[in-house]
Symmetry: C2
């Protein structure tokens, strides 16, 4: 900056004003400073400033997988809120591995992010206690933290599957299957709970072969669904536990001669142009990201109550056709 000031024939304060786009500099002086900057290849360096001030204007976002459309939409919403607050975003995918989640979170903290938005993969987040004590704001989203009391923004998962199952029951189904993600994942457990609750409330049994929890790979989902459809009491309808399951279920079901009703958890692109179009329980992925990021900045700005908050966003059933297929007579 001294070199720039000398070359432009102005004081350091003037260079600072031009760089930070502050008023009080004539256009001519500004142009002279800009020319000196260009000639000298002056580059802003935030590192020293970041060491002096407490805030780094950066936020870390840990997702399960940014390539999953649900998390991609959530990610974009977090980015937009961060941008509105002048903050940059570090992002990383945990790939559902608790160690990778911790590694990413601590790496972000070592870069002194102001805050974190975390879709947790693990179930023990006490490793974050020193960071939180040091002032790193942390909001969990999609799933709550484990063994740690922190802000969280969730979808009403149990209510969502309950709504979906009730819809299928209302259309005459009695033998309804559920395929969910790995049982250790909070959302998967909650959705299973909602499925069971709806069946029980309607006085319907739940046979062990009617539900299957596990990885959402096409092979696993296909095998689980084949088993549900080929037993002595085959299901006549399926609630798919997330968009990965729905996509495979569509591939399997649309190739069968007998129609099977389907309600998917999570909306997805082109659900409306499939034949039949897919009925879904839609959660609000951008809404989750937005609410989490807004809570993060409220906390950073010191305007959130000290007590951690828990927000649950509602779901919406969108009837399109596949969930209204009646059972075979």
């Amino acid at each position: 900056m001294k070199d720039v000031a000398a070359r432009a024939g102005v004081g350091l304060k003037t260079v600072s004003r031009v760089v930070n786009e502050e008023p009080g500099v004539t256009p001519e002086t500004s142009a002279r400073v800009q020319a000196a900057i260009d000639a000298l290849g002056f580059r802003r360096n935030d590192s020293a400033r970041l060491l002096r001030t407490r805030r780094t204007a950066s936020v870390g976002l840990v997702l399960e997988d940014v390539a999953d459309p649900f998390y991609a939409a959530l990610s974009r919403a977090v980015e937009d809120v961060a941008r509105a607050h002048g903050a940059l975003l570090f992002t990383g995918s945990s790939a559902e591995d608790p160690r990778r989640e911790q590694e990413l979170v601590l790496a972000f903290c070592a870069r002194r992010v102001d805050g974190l938005v975390v879709v947790p993969a693990g179930d023990d987040h006490r490793y974050l206690l020193p960071e939180i004590a040091a002032g790193v704001a942390t909001v969990f989203v999609d799933r709550p933290a484990g063994r740690l009391d922190a802000d969280v923004v969730l979808t009403d998962n149990a209510g969502g599957t309950r709504l979906g199952v009730e819809h299928l029951i209302a259309h005459g189904h009695r033998r309804i299957g559920f395929i969910g993600d790995q049982p250790g994942i909070h959302t998967a457990g909650e959705r299973l709970r909602g499925y069971r609750a709806a069946m029980e409330a309607a006085g319907l049994p739940v046979r062990p072969e009617w539900y299957a929890m596990g990885p959402t790979t096409p092979e696993r989902v296909r095998a689980a669904l084949d088993a549900m459809l080929s037993g002595p009491e085959p299901v006549t309808a399926l609630l798919a536990g997330n968009n990965r399951v729905t996509v495979t279920a569509v591939r399997v079901l649309w190739n069968r001669p007998d129609p099977v009703a389907l309600v998917g958890f999570d909306d997805f692109e082109l659900a409306d142009v499939l034949d039949p179009p897919v009925t879904v329980v839609a959660q609000d992925a951008p809404g989750l990201g937005r609410a989490a990021a807004q809570q993060l900045f409220r906390r950073l700005d010191g305007i959130a109550p000290e007590e951690p908050s828990r927000v649950e966003l509602p779901v919406r059933l969108i009837a399109r056709g596949s969930g209204e297929i009646p059972p075979p007579r």
Copy 2:
């Protein structure tokens, strides 16, 4: 660190070994240091180290929109390569706004990222010259840099549309439409060029009302397609310029009584279960991200030739049904 060393009754070097997971510390000592760390709330801070060393082990990624499945897949591939090189990722969406692109790039540079992977929105990247001179490795992906000679990884866009149009011609079509993205976007221009080249090579005319370039919003695509289908010489087949266009084209075409052939640029999830399934020219989104990130680290490691490289990845035509619909007799 001094406090931790004093509390644990060990030297600074030992604390450093434990924190950095280096060998040469007994499990007992390590546990004592860990207990002191926990008690004191010691947190690693990379900022000072980053001021001393040249490398920050971070990379900035600027995309058009991380919520677009094409860029989400590209993003994940860049993250995986960065992770393999021990680097963290800043990400940001330019929303096709050159000023926002520049703002993000310079903000990443001010945080002293080692390198950048950029899907450019603008057409003049000379603002990067001081950064590149200062050692920031920069690789452009999906579209080349403007007025700057830099590494770039592209898809064979013109070859892709040419392949798609040739496929439609081989199935008997003579009046073929093309709907592309905004003409200022490199990929959109290249794809239009390939469309024209294929029509010309087959001795077919291209009527002005058969192609339309502009924003890929559903309203614009719908209007453009309606116009192509309702003129005195309506098209019998459409090449959709990217996945956003294809998604809307499917909605319009699948609701018409007369079948219209469709080839989409970019593959997309569930293209195979639509009725008819959608024929596409598939580009390799993860391959683009991987190749760009690998080139970035080659450059950072000083093992890339000084001359900027230009890589063009091939496309693949996947015939599924919609592109094989014959013209009406």
